[in-house]
């Protein structure tokens, strides 16, 4: 008696959580891994490197403004 109940429960949980469609045809291949890791890794690495450089170079006097144009206008 316990076994069918458990089976039903398991089926219900599976139905609630498992995706409707699954295809084993498209399992991530070695080529897919390489492309994914390279692509995502490259853009993430590039952004990380840029942020590190921006943070390293940021100094108060490099804050953007255009006050250097003012004297020309006022002249």
């Amino acid at each position: 008696m316990t076994w069918p109940v458990l089976q039903l429960l398991a089926q219900a949980v599976e139905a609630a959580t498992a995706p409707a469609t699954q295809t084993s045809e498209y399992h991530l291949t070695l080529g897919g891994w390489v492309v994914m890791v390279f692509s995502v890794g490259f853009v993430t690495g590039l952004l990380g490197w840029c942020i590190w450089r921006v943070m390293r170079e940021s100094t108060p006097e490099k804050v953007h403004s255009q006050i250097d144009v003012e004297p020309i206008d006022k002249a």
């Binding site: 609630a16 959580t17 498992a18 995706p19 409707a20 469609t21 699954q22 295809t23 084993s24 045809e25 498209y26 399992h27 991530l28 291949t29 080529g31 897919g32 891994w33 390489v34 492309v35 994914m36 390279f38 692509s39 995502v40 490259f42 853009v43 993430t44 590039l46 952004l47 840029c50 942020i51 450089r53 921006v54 170079e57 940021s58 490099k62 804050v63 953007h64 403004s65 255009q66 006050i67 250097d68 144009v69 003012e70 020309i72 206008d73 006022k74 002249a75």
Partner: protein
């Protein structure tokens, strides 16, 4: 001009986030994954990254350089900047195109932004859970929400009307624009961009923890060999065209926006690293987040055939297919809400940037104050958005605006800018401009890419794309002008807006010329 209080960016991170926010939009999360899935998965990334280095990045640097060059000479609007670089009567009038492009795109983009907000709301309140496995319900929901059954139907819609969401979006856009560059755009982007990334990361974690996600990732990233071999699929010219187009549109180059934003940067401040950082931020959102979320999840729940059918259209993928995916996904209601909210943030940071170039022209060319220029632009965009909203049948007006302004004019403007930099300013002066204050050294050969490769690349894409449009019998954009009255009306409307901007430019030129002849300033 001297009486006008000049605006500026508060921090360097602020300007980078603002430019990144301008670039990151729906294309990052919907168009890119759709294209990558369509064109042989992993094979697409090769032309994509080549286009990034040969087209996207050089064009971004060109815009940053032209902008700061013009800004240092007291100009923030594209007409003024182009005139500062090229002393020709024609140059400021090309700048009118740099006004039409962002304003014309804003007119329909704000509606799409409202759809995203509306979908986030309906997803949060459970009204978008229309069941699993039947796409018809989602298609009819979208159709009634955007009113594509009949012109003007949106104005009489009672259930699921987008009007409230449109009103909210317009108000937020103009409120932030009215607050100015520093207190409006920069302030908003400084929290909206991190919030967008956090939302995307939460959605990403949910997607990557789905059982069987490996096959979804395989569908997205595996270099498939349906055409025989990997090299054969690489020889697909259409894929190269699509990759270049995606890079081009994704980085927001040719919109006249970066030119305007960069003009507010200090003369001695770096633009090389800032330009690279904002481009990298856009790529991270596109490849690192967009590429890992949408297609793998959609494939997992709907299968290859449905995803391939939806991948051709961002609207189909985003507003008809994904809600069905979220309805099937455990915790889908919360994940879907976050996803559409992040799309809304991405759209809002982009639409904001579309208003600033025209505001700059109204302020510096006609000496209008902020309130008056916001009011004038508000009136123009109200008419334009109202036009697109009313002619909603089959989304013909939106599609026409998108084609002529969001594609055709952008190619022309980008080509003009790259020629302006490479051939008028010259690569010697251009390189000196980019290198001035630079915190990274850009290799000099990039100048040859800008001078020779990028224009040829752009022209080749443009000619092939134009050829495809002309020869396409089903959806020929040129014959549609005289066969479809709404298309004709839309094109006439855009020409009228261009004429209006040309008139404003001519008034501005007159003022600049008289100011220069009075010896008041360097103009």
């Amino acid at each position: 001009m001297a009486e006008q209080s000049r605006q500026n960016w508060g921090t360097r991170i602020g300007v980078i986030l603002a430019v990144t926010g301008s670039a990151v939009g729906l294309g990052n999360f919907l168009r890119f994954p759709g294209l990558a899935a369509k064109y042989e998965g992993g094979a697409f990334m090769i032309p994509y990254f080549i286009a990034f280095f040969l087209l996207g990045l050089p064009l971004a640097w060109v815009e940053w350089s032209l902008g700061r060059y013009g800004g240092a000479r007291g100009f923030n609007s594209a007409p003024g900047i182009y005139r500062a670089v090229w002393k020709s009567r024609l140059s400021p009038y090309v700048g009118a195109l740099a006004m039409l492009v962002p304003v014309g795109i804003y007119m329909f983009y704000v509606l799409i932004e409202a759809w995203c907000l509306g979908y986030a709301w309906y997803m949060a309140t459970g009204q978008l859970n229309l069941g699993q496995g039947d796409k018809t319900a989602y298609i009819s929901f979208f159709s009634s929400f955007v009113g594509d059954a009949e012109n003007g139907s949106i104005l009489s819609a009672t259930e699921h009307s987008p009007l409230v969401f449109i009103a909210i979006c317009v108000f937020v856009n103009f409120f932030l624009i009215y607050r100015g560059l520093n207190k409006g755009i920069e302030w908003f982007c400084s929290w909206a961009m991190p919030a967008l990334v956090v939302c995307a990361l939460i959605v990403l974690v949910r997607v990557l923890t789905l059982p069987g996600i490996e096959s979804g990732l395989g569908f997205m990233w595996n270099p498939r060999t349906s055409s025989g071999s990997f090299w054969k699929s690489l020889a697909n010219g259409e894929m190269w065209l699509a990759a270049a187009g995606q890079i081009f549109f994704s980085l927001s180059v040719g919109f006249g926006i970066i030119v305007n934003y960069a003009s507010y940067v200090k003369r001695d401040a770096d633009i090389a690293l800032s330009g690279l950082t904002s481009a990298a931020g856009n790529e991270f959102c596109e490849v690192g987040l967009g590429g890992m979320i949408v297609i793998p999840a959609a494939f997992l729940f709907l299968g290859a055939t449905t995803v391939m059918q939806a991948s051709d259209s961002s609207f189909n993928l985003g507003f008809m297919t994904l809600p069905m995916v979220f309805a099937s996904m455990p915790l889908g209601q919360y994940v879907g809400t976050l996803f559409f909210f992040l799309l809304f943030l991405a759209a809002l940071t982009s639409s904001l940037s579309m208003l600033q170039p025209a505001i700059a022209l109204l302020e510096e060319g006609l000496s209008l104050n902020r309130r008056a220029s916001v009011a004038v632009l508000g009136f123009i965009t109200f008419i334009g958005s109202g036009f697109v909203l009313y002619f909603s049948k089959s989304l013909v007006a939106l599609d026409t605006f998108d084609f002529w302004v969001g594609t055709f004019c952008i190619y022309i403007l980008a080509t003009f800018q790259v020629l302006l930099f490479g051939w008028v300013l010259g690569i010697e002066r251009g390189y000196a401009e980019i290198s001035h204050g630079a915190e990274i050294r850009i290799p000099y050969w990039f100048m040859y890419i800008i001078k020779y490769v990028s224009p040829v690349y752009l022209l080749a894409i443009f000619v092939i794309w134009l050829y495809q449009q002309i020869t396409e019998a089903k959806a020929n954009r040129f014959t549609a002008i005289y066969s479809d009255p709404v298309v004709l009306l839309s094109v006439c409307f855009l020409l009228a807006v261009f004429g209006l901007f040309a008139l404003l430019v001519s008034q501005s030129v007159r003022r600049w010329t008289s100011a220069a002849s009075e010896g008041g300033n360097s103009r």
